[in-house]
């Protein structure tokens, strides 16, 4: 009884239940042969969704209308520029990292400048900035695929204790995000702004400063994800970020973060990211065609959201 109430009080648990269920069904279909491979692949690909999802989560928590649509472009730009700067040299990795962070910070500043100075709604501001950023990415490498430095390429596909390195990195970032959200002043302020921005200002919260930092955090996380993804896949591609636009929003929603703002949830991002990847692999295992796969993915996401929001009805 208590356990049941616990489950209902934690909406994010549903995403884990769903992820585990999908995992189990897929494993059973292959008779257990794919257990290790599927688990590792799930953790690897979920890691990228987790990193961008955490940034999007903070932005969405700022309240209605707050969403960052420039994540894919930021990922692409960070990947292309960093690989170009490093030029396959192992010695330039630190420089590449600094450039990645610089790209994130720059785009964060640009996004909030558009929102604040020109008073453009965030959804439009980040969408328009994403076109500019994407164009810069195109101009930067002109479609030439540069390989990542060998050390990085190896690191990004290797595992430690059976868990992929990128998943470890996502875990470190998640722990940091959880502390920031649940224990930090910053998280408290973000949540307050998401509930009532005017009241937050009148309670002494530096509203503009907090919103600015949040957009910057989101862009930096997207840049890091883009950097890792381009190292993982052996070079940056101009469309490498595109699937992360919807993914970043979907994992936030499925993970139990309030779409209207004011309440965020870090563990849910993990459950949701794993679930999204596993749904696709399950359907692949069953041999579903691309069209069927997309339809079913949509239906399953809707089902999970309905299941997760049932507790609100009480």
């Amino acid at each position: 009884m208590t356990a049941l109430r616990f489950v209902f009080a934690k909406p994010w648990l549903w995403s884990f239940v769903a992820a585990f269920g999908t995992w189990l069904v897929t494993i059973l279909f292959t008779g257990g042969a794919s257990t290790l491979g599927l688990s590792q692949a799930a953790l690897t690909f979920a890691a990228f969704s987790i990193i961008v999802g955490l940034g999007q989560m903070f932005v969405v928590t700022l309240g209605p209308g707050n969403v960052d649509l420039s994540i894919p472009a930021t990922m692409t730009l960070a990947g292309t520029v960093a690989l170009k700067v490093m030029d396959t040299q192992d010695g330039a990795i630190l420089l590449g990292l600094l450039v990645t962070l610089g790209v994130g910070i720059g785009i964060g500043i640009a996004n909030y400048a558009l929102i604040k100075l020109l008073r453009i709604p965030p959804i439009i501001a980040t969408l328009s900035s994403s076109f500019i950023v994407q164009s810069i990415a195109i101009a930067t490498n002109r479609g030439i695929r540069i390989k990542p430095p060998a050390v990085l390429a190896e690191f990004s596909i290797a595992s430690f204790l059976g868990v992929p390195n990128v998943a470890w990195l996502a875990l470190v970032i998640s722990v940091f995000a959880w502390v920031l959200l649940e224990k930090g002043l910053f998280g408290r302020w973000v949540s307050a702004i998401g509930q009532n921005m005017r009241a937050a200002r009148l309670a002494g919260i530096p509203v503009d400063g907090v919103r600015f930092l949040t957009y910057m955090l989101c862009a930096v996380l997207a840049a890091i994800a883009g950097f890792l993804l381009s190292c993982f896949s052996g070079g940056a591609a101009l469309n490498m970020g595109s699937e992360y636009l919807l993914t970043s929003i979907a994992v936030v929603v499925i993970g139990g973060t309030a779409v209207a703002g004011g309440f965020a949830n870090v563990p849910g991002i993990w459950g949701a990211s794993l679930f999204l990847f596993l749904v696709v692999s399950m359907l692949n295992t069953y041999g579903a065609s691309a069209g069927v796969r997309m339809v079913l993915t949509g239906v399953i996401i809707i089902a999970v959201i309905i299941a997760a929001s049932r507790k609100a009805v009480r």
Binding site: A199, L202, G204, I205, D208, G209, F212, G262
Partner: protein
């Protein structure tokens, strides 16, 4: 007594109602006759709101019966209540902010349908506004969002008194004057007199006991879910009413001689307009902002607050704190617990390396919960589980618990019961004694009269400055109305 010879509009017999373990009503008899204005008073939590919900059909009593015009009502509902001609004006306003006054009238009155409803609705609401609040200056084609809170309340009241052909027998007014200034309130009370003289019935709930005494023909006092007194209004005085409600009238403690307004002001604003005066506040003062509601007092407070705080950079210690009067708009964080709502402003003081010290946070919250007597079992309950008065106490604690030297208060006593008010007054005096500075906008005269110095506002500018013994109801009214009377 002609009232007893006619059938009562509505009568409730032996009503009880429990919410879980809480017994909100413990056997209440309540009757309203045509031509009566029944004053209903009691502390927060005495059961007034529950009784009103039973009267308007929103709640079904666990036990007891309801009769309409002498006939027992079966399966009494909101629809039946409206069909009988019963209307309610609630403390929390219920207008749609994006619609115009006319459109809101249509929402409230389903009878206004078919071709030309807009024209009929406009005429109805405009006439009723003119009738109740002559000279109101409200444009009925404007959206509600563009009105001040006082104007919205006027529209709400006028909408309830509008009859679109379904009849109107009883209007329940829950704190109708809480946002209205003295002039508008007296217009409303006068209208209540005319309405009852024409055979209508009123149930009036107000924390302003003077209003209850002057407007009511009969007064019902509630306490702990029971009716403890039910007598003609002439049988009561303010003291006996307060006595019946169970709170003790504390004698007004003057602050002694007005503190010397000298030294460097902690806040100041230059004069505005031709007749305007400069605004200055000195350390340790309790400065009142008076005048008719909506004449620039709130704007000035928000302006002062924004000027003293920064929207970009955090400060370790808050220089000023703000106590909101409009809790839903400016104060509450609805998803949060009482504790989180209370500690928000002082949080930077409890933060080391970006992390909040949760242990100290709950210690301080527990401490303040005792000091201001927030009535809750658990500080982790949601803020909205509290009654309005207790929510307001939490907002007070939010400001007072911080180390802000100046506290700005935006008419924070709306809908707060008299016991809570007395507790807060005592707290303010004690804090001012310790050197804290308060700027207090209030629409209630006895609150303004507690201040050391008072600025009277009219049309966005300060038109008078009163101090010490010069702060009287007469002088404030004179300054507020000077131009209107000329």
């Amino acid at each position: 007594m002609t009232a007893t010879t006619t059938n009562p509009v509505i009568s409730v017999n032996g009503a009880t109602k429990s919410f879980g373990a809480v017994r909100a009503l413990a056997g209440v008899d309540f009757t309203v006759h045509p031509g009566e204005c029944v004053g209903l008073v009691g502390h927060n939590g005495a059961g007034k709101s529950t009784l009103v919900s039973i009267l308007n059909g929103g709640l079904t009593p666990d036990e007891g019966t309801i009769a309409l015009n002498g006939q027992p009502a079966v399966r009494y509902s909101i629809a039946q209540a409206r069909a009988t001609g019963l209307r309610c004006v609630f403390q929390e306003l219920s207008l749609c902010p994006n619609l115009t006054v006319t459109e809101n009238t249509r929402v409230a009155h389903r009878g206004l349908r078919g071709f030309g409803w807009r024209r009929r609705a406009r005429a109805l609401i405009r006439n009723k506004l003119d009738d109740i609040f002559p000279g109101h200056g409200i444009d009925v084609n404007q959206a509600i969002a563009s009105f001040t809170i006082a104007e919205r309340q006027m529209v709400e009241i006028a909408t309830a008194f509008t009859d679109a052909g379904t009849g109107l027998s009883l209007v329940i007014l829950d704190e109708p004057t809480s946002s209205l200034d003295a002039g508008l309130a007296s217009q409303l009370l006068a209208y209540i007199g005319r309405f009852t003289a024409a055979g209508g019935a009123i149930v009036l709930i107000s924390h302003i006991l003077g209003e209850i005494l002057s407007a009511s023909t009969r007064i019902v006092v509630m306490k702990d879910g029971k009716v403890v007194a039910d007598r003609p209004a002439t049988g009561f005085t303010i003291d006996s009413l307060v006595g019946a409600m169970g709170s003790v009238v504390r004698t007004r403690e003057g602050r002694g001689a007005a503190s010397a307004a000298t030294g460097t002001p902690v806040l100041s604003r230059p004069a505005r307009g031709q007749a305007g005066r400069a605004f200055r506040v000195f350390p340790g003062e309790l400065v009142g902002l008076a005048g008719l509601g909506g004449h620039g007092q709130t704007d000035m407070l928000v302006d002062l607050y924004m000027g003293e705080t920064n929207a970009w950079l955090p400060r370790r210690a808050a220089a000023v704190a703000f106590v909101a009067g409009d809790r839903a708009e400016d104060g509450n964080f609805p998803l949060w617990s009482i504790l989180r709502n209370m500690t928000l402003t002082l949080l930077p003081q409890l933060t080391r390396l970006g992390l909040v010290d949760g242990t100290r946070e709950s210690q301080i919250a527990t401490d303040w919960r005792q000091r201001i007597e927030v009535r809750t079992k658990d500080m982790s309950n949601p803020i909205l589980s509290l009654s309005g008065g207790n929510q307001q106490k939490v907002l007070f604690a939010r400001a007072l618990a911080s180390n802000a030297a100046v506290v700005l208060m935006d008419d924070p006593m709306r809908g707060v019961d008299i016991g809570t008010k007395q507790e807060v007054y005592a707290m303010l005096r004690a804090e001012a004694q310790k050197g804290r500075t308060f700027v207090w906008y209030s629409t209630e005269m006895d609150e303004v009269c507690q201040c050391d110095r008072v600025y009277v506002f009219r049309e966005g500018a300060i038109v008078a400055e009163l101090a010490g013994a010069g702060i009287t109801e007469d002088s404030i009214l004179a300054a507020s109305f000077a131009e209107a009377a000329a």
